[in-house]
Amino acid sequence: MGVDGIGARVARKEDRRFLTGKGRYTDDMSVPGMKHAVFVRSPHAHATIVGIDATEAKAMPGVIDVLDGKQLLADGIGNLICGWMIHSKDGSAMKMGAWRPLADKTVRYVGDAVAIVVADSVAEARDAAEAVVVDYDFLPVVTDPVQALADGQPQLHPEAPNNLIFDWELGDAGVVDRALAAAAHVTELKIFNNRLAPNPMEPRATLGIYDAGDEHYTCYTTSQNPHLARLVMSAFYNVAPENKLRVIAPDVGGGFGSKIYIYPEEIVCLWASKRTGVPVKWTCDRTEAFLTDAHGRDHVSTVKMAFDAGNRITALKVDTIANLGAYMSLFSSCVPTYLYATLLSGQYDIPAIHANVRTVYTNTVPVDAYRGAGRPEATYLLERTMETAARELGISPAELRRTNFIRSFPHQTPVIMNYDAGDYEASLDAAMAASDWNGFAARKAEAEQRGMKRGIGMSCYIEACGLAPSAAVGSLGAGVGLWESAEVKVNMVGTIEVMTGSHSHGQGHETTFAQLVADRLGLPIDSINIVHGDTDKVQMGMGTYGSRSGAVGMSALAKALDKVEAKAKKIAAHLMEADESDIVIEDGALKVAGTDKSVPWFQMALAAYTAHNLPPGLEPGLKESAFYDPANFTFPAGCYICEVEVDPETGRTKVVQFVAADDFGNIINPMIVEGQVHGGLAQGIGQALLEGVTYDDSGQLLTASYLDYAMPRADDVPSFKVSTSNTPCPNNPLGIKGCGEAGAIGSPPALINAITDAIGNNQLTMPATAEKVWAAAHAAN
């Protein structure tokens, strides 16, 4: 490998533009004639729209037009959809209510879009939006998912009686119930997984441009998945034909899942551009982001875990109610089902599992995937339960986990997944060593002298990354394939452009993808350019989510490189009058093995395009593409250990040490991987200690700004100790597993386990604010 190849800590190619203010995010885009949009949004959580009067607003300075849902409907723009069909246990399909991009009859959450104002400036559009008079008839409100299921509650959609979207199950209830009855010990717990706002620092934005000359649409948008946006907007929402719609997601300032979905604003701005004849740009403000970006998590669960006399788990029973908010967002249905219940076996050999999941409509913003999506919810439930069980059984939490680890692979769980490889003991041992687990008692005693309560907690997580294969997920209800595509274009002078369907919004693809090419061809990293995020430049793609860029996106690139190399060898063999099977590619040249004959890479590339001297019948040019559909998920896993000090006077928790030992398989760039873990850990610590979306009973969002929603800041997190073990994934050509979500999945239970250990009270819900911890600590005494 060269200095820039696989395994090297190469500094990122993309950093220079970000560090010098030359990044190009959607809100930085301006085109001639562009106007600005502001949405009129419902201030009520549930109401019927009696009428909309925009007369005064339309006459205000700078206003181009005000458009509402009736006009949108008249123009045939369709409803937003959920793309994964789930069936209830009685066989019936999930009950999806209509989601209009602009509400025309009923609003169902505070922030539901009602109209769009287009004006010369944002300020003028905002002034006019204030002047749009919407006459509402109030309807009763429900925000709590448990309450929403009860009789006599407000009903959100006529299609879903009792607000129940589906009642789904996985596993054999009879077997699990019998095991529970026969158990030597049963641990029972109630688990709340708090609702979070994803909060990428770049607020969502979109710029819709309609070109009447070509009847062509261009949509700049803050998307993790521009090709999917194009597909959905054309095939389902009737915004534009797919061949007349270009979607560009330029630099995107973080996503964490919340930018996978297609929101009303992209659709409405494109449509408004056609209606008004001007390019229309909309940029979210932060309060609007809290009100409208899909939220994450929000589960209420009960769990029962059965043990035999040897402390082996014999069964697990889980009952979950998942709040999906007012409408079903694009992937919402798969998050609490196939991304959640299928991970309930964790790292443990559990013979029988039964999960029942009910999803519910409430008058809150839609809930969808957020960093980890389903896996954090499963891990939190399981790892809180393991820790609780260890305390009840009076054994060390490490020993209980060790006793139950899966040790032989492949391992088929009772909940669909087939784990391909792993070494859970290795990460447990590594984390225990790095945290000086054995020295904890002394540290606790020392803290006690200072009046501090010190606690330690662990969490052993597993996740399923790189969702796959297409046929299997299709049979489970997925509406899309889960392959990825890549195209490698070798230019005439030998420099290389890679077009990938993966999308980078902070993950550093411009560097890691280039490292793979540099590694294979021995070319300098600066001669390789990665192109992504533009449906006109990249043939096809499924975007970036679920830690799929390395395992799936780079595997597609590896396949395309195979083809490029094969053809390059043919050309070089011909030039050197050698056999193509003797050609090796090394250090930027094609060499005849065992001789000193070689052709520089650039010369071979030029020969491919001059085409003066190619093997008979060979097409000129050197440009190859590939699709890759993985054979299975990949299964990163690891062990996290957190140590905290709680001040009993104030209830404030300080994270004094956080150790992460992960198994991500093969690693392209350790520096980038560590950065992903750090970021995930901070988000998980945020969930555990600080963050929580709160609605009042009338459906008003109480946490709609950074004054009310506590984001983790530099002072809230420690410096982390991270390390990896690297059991290669046997199912993809690169052995990569994925690392983007691990930190957010594994850290909340480790932290809550540490706090409950410190205060001697197991009853604690996230976020563990100082007030709650103080109350729990005092209740324990």
């Binding site: 560090l19 010098t20 203010g21 990044g23 300020a123 750090h678 950074y706 530099a714 002072d715 410096s719």
Partner: protein, 162 residues
Amino acid sequence: MAKITMTVNGRQVSGVCEDRTLLVHFIRENLGLTGTHVGCDTSQCGACVVHMDGQSVKSCSILAAQAAGSSITTIEGLAQNGELHPVQAAFKAHHGLQCGFCTPGMVMTAVDMIRRHGSDLDEATVRSELEGNICRCTGYHNIVKAILAAAHEMGGVRQAAE
């Protein structure tokens, strides 16, 4: 409407804007310097930090008119002659950024922090002084590392940022 003149990144500039226009919008829209970002509407996130007469300020909490006559440095004005400022270079070397959206504000805050503390900076001070800047991607670990490395690199003398 007001006509405003100020020095931005060493050049005198002027523009006409409404009285209510914030400095950040003047910089982004009137001057086309889009490196300064807007991440919130309550002056909590720090994505918009610039230097005004040598001190870091949140440009979303100042009216453009208030900044008239002052000397402003934005992220675009930090690198000199194509050479990254040592703080920019340290962020790159220590992987102190991911999506890059918080980065201009982080860097401008860091430059001012180092100007005030020199190499006396320690981790606790950096973490506490970063409380006005939110990063959702990096977990701060590498940002803190980058700032400490830059402080060290820039030497023990408390030096002017620009």
